[in-house]
């Protein structure tokens, strides 16, 4: 087992991310944004590559974490914005819009990745690790960036918890009450993107969406208030992330993203196996 000096820090960082993903996922699911999360994850690739290339061009270290995350976040936001915009085209529909956005951003990402790989410096290895996640390769500065993001995101969610709850579970009612639905939707998208980029190093571009959706879907099988469900989702997310990191350190070559996803899926299957006839939370 490859436990470095900062392994405790890595564990803490990943657990924090798991909790964050579960929390945000509860709202993402309730607001039916599951596939937006998928697209946002994939759409970080072009931004990360662009940030890397820009960093190299300006003589910064291309691997500066905050720079890559900022790049990833900007293209992910663009993709998340593009889906409802494209869906307004008659005949395209939200399903088609999602597929188009995914194909576009991930395609551009693939092209830019091939540009990045032209760079002789060994630094592009860092970007390749972002595809499937590699907790072992995390540095303490990665962990600090990640934890800051997680804390900030949870703080925003906690502050506006009841507004988010209202919009997620009963949009027409919220509108009538004068809650700014559009602004909250934007905020939720921003939180989703923040979560996605926070998870890049941990779970990877392709599978970060699983850490957002699967624990939240598992938690919805329980009964109780929204607060309780959110807490359960966060707990399952944190447990999946921690167990995933441990597995990936033990099993040689196992990418962290795959390990976390599989653990979360096991949790999900366990909650499904539990017989439960009534829907836990009424979602409009």
């Amino acid at each position: 087992m490859n436990l470095g000096a900062n392994s405790m820090l890595v564990f803490a960082g990943c657990t924090a991310f798991g909790a964050l993903a579960g929390t945000v996922g509860t709202f993402v699911l309730a607001r039916r944004r599951a596939l937006v999360a998928d697209v946002a994850g994939h759409a970080t690739l072009p931004g990360v590559c662009l940030a890397f290339l820009a960093g190299e061009a300006f003589g910064l270290n291309g691997r500066t974490p905050w720079l890559l995350l900022l790049g990833g976040a900007s293209t992910a936001l663009l993709a998340a914005w593009s889906i409802p915009t494209l869906a307004q085209l008659r005949r395209l529909g939200s399903d088609g819009a999602t597929a188009v956005s995914l194909a576009f951003f991930f395609g551009i990402g693939a092209v830019l990745l091939s540009v990045v790989q032209l760079h002789e410096s060994g630094a592009q290895g860092g970007i390749r690790k972002l595809l499937f996640g590699s907790a072992a390769a995390m540095t303490s500065s990665d962990v600090i960036t990640l934890t800051t993001l997680a804390v900030a995101t949870v703080a925003v969610l906690a502050t506006f918890f009841k507004e988010f709850a209202l919009v997620s579970f009963d949009e027409p009612f919220a509108k009538v009450m004068g809650v700014p639905v559009r602004k909250l939707d934007l905020a939720l998208t921003a939180l989703l993107v923040a979560t996605v980029v926070a998870g890049l190093q941990v779970a990877g571009i392709v599978l970060v969406v699983a850490l957002i959706l699967t624990p939240a879907a598992a938690a919805r099988r329980f009964r109780g208030s929204l607060t309780k469900i959110t807490v359960i989702a966060a707990t399952i997310g944190a447990a999946s992330a921690a167990a995933g990191v441990a597995l990936s350190l033990v099993v040689d070559g196992l990418p962290t993203g795959s390990a976390m996803t599989l653990v979360a899926t096991v949790f999900f299957l366990l909650t499904i196996a539990r017989r439960n006839n009534t829907p836990p939370v009424q979602v409009a």
Partner: protein
């Protein structure tokens, strides 16, 4: 010219064959408002592909095909079950199941099979068009030098076209009015399963050469480009293939030769370029349609 024949022609042929297979079937997915099902299948076949290899121990095409097709259909059925059981939305169920499948596939590849299966996870995503070469064999017929991927892609394209031609009527009704199709007994459940199996088979065949990014694009984008202009299903399929082929060819050459204009030696990722170009063409096609309508009105 020689370089074109040996390097670019095989890659372009592979991309176009994948377009014929996935693009044709994609029309049915798009007509059924299931463009993202292609995305799910593209991710879900991976564990079947790897498991097919690990079980038989050989790189037998049949075993990997069978494994992957089973995984693809299994994942879709599982997603349906999850949706029914948990009352989460269809999209969420799909997302949960296919990420789990993909994670399993990547885990199997990285821990057990990567070297043996000769499939690196990155090439699963972005394809390996760049590694297809045509080498004139030292002896025997010229055919022997054609890359293996070309043959499996051609076979998949034939299967897709045959299936579409044979069941065009039933698939049309199924896409237009599923309840009527079901009720009148024209399109039984078996036909829906068969569609999933054929899509999975095409995805597997295309996967290795063009990667999941381009498979997703081929399944959704050509049909979406053609949709606003078509007046019949047959017309939509024909238009989607024609437009898709033209755009894919243009994008391939852009990826292959544009860097040379800037003095770079290496080519860009062609699968990514084709995917992005096809995706960009979809909104343009829709906007063009509404401008035409406005002028006519």
């Amino acid at each position: 010219m020689n370089a074109f024949l040996h390097i670019d022609f095989p890659a372009l042929a592979a991309a176009l064959l994948a377009l014929v297979g996935c693009g044709t079937l994609g029309n049915w997915l798009v007509l059924r408002k299931e463009a993202m099902t292609g995305d799910a299948i593209a991710h879900a076949v991976l564990p079947g592909l790897v498991a097919g290899f690990l079980v038989t121990g050989t790189r037998s095409v049949a075993a990997m095909f069978l494994g992957a097709a089973l995984a693809g259909v299994g994942a879709i059925l599982l997603a349906g079950w999850v949706r029914a059981r948990t009352k989460t939305g269809a999209a969420a169920a799909l997302g949960i199941v296919f990420t789990a499948c993909f994670a399993l596939g990547v885990a199997l590849l990285e821990t057990r099979g990567a070297r043996q299966v000769d499939l690196d996870p990155e090439c699963v995503l972005f394809g390996s068009l760049e590694t297809l070469f045509y080498v004139v064999p030292a002896e025997g017929s010229w055919i022997a030098g054609v890359p293996r991927a070309i043959w499996s892609l051609a076979a998949a394209a034939c299967v897709a076209l045959t299936f579409t031609a044979m069941f065009a009527k039933e698939l049309t009704l199924l896409s237009f009015d599923r309840e009527f199709a079901r009720f009148s007994g024209v399109a039984p459940r078996a036909l829906e399963r068969a569609l999933l199996i054929v899509v999975s088979a095409c995805v597997v065949a295309s996967f290795e050469a063009v990667g999941s990014v381009l498979v997703i694009a081929f399944l959704a984008c050509p049909a979406l480009i053609a949709a606003p202009h078509a007046r019949s299903v047959r017309g939509q399929i024909a238009l989607s293939l024609a437009a898709g082929a033209a755009i894919a060819t243009g994008a391939y050459f852009l990826a292959a030769f544009a860097p040379q204009l800037f003095g770079a030696r290496s080519a860009l990722n062609a699968a990514g370029m084709i995917s992005a170009a096809l995706a960009a063409a979809v909104p343009l096609s829709h906007i063009a349609r509404s401008m035409l309508n406005r002028r006519r009105a």
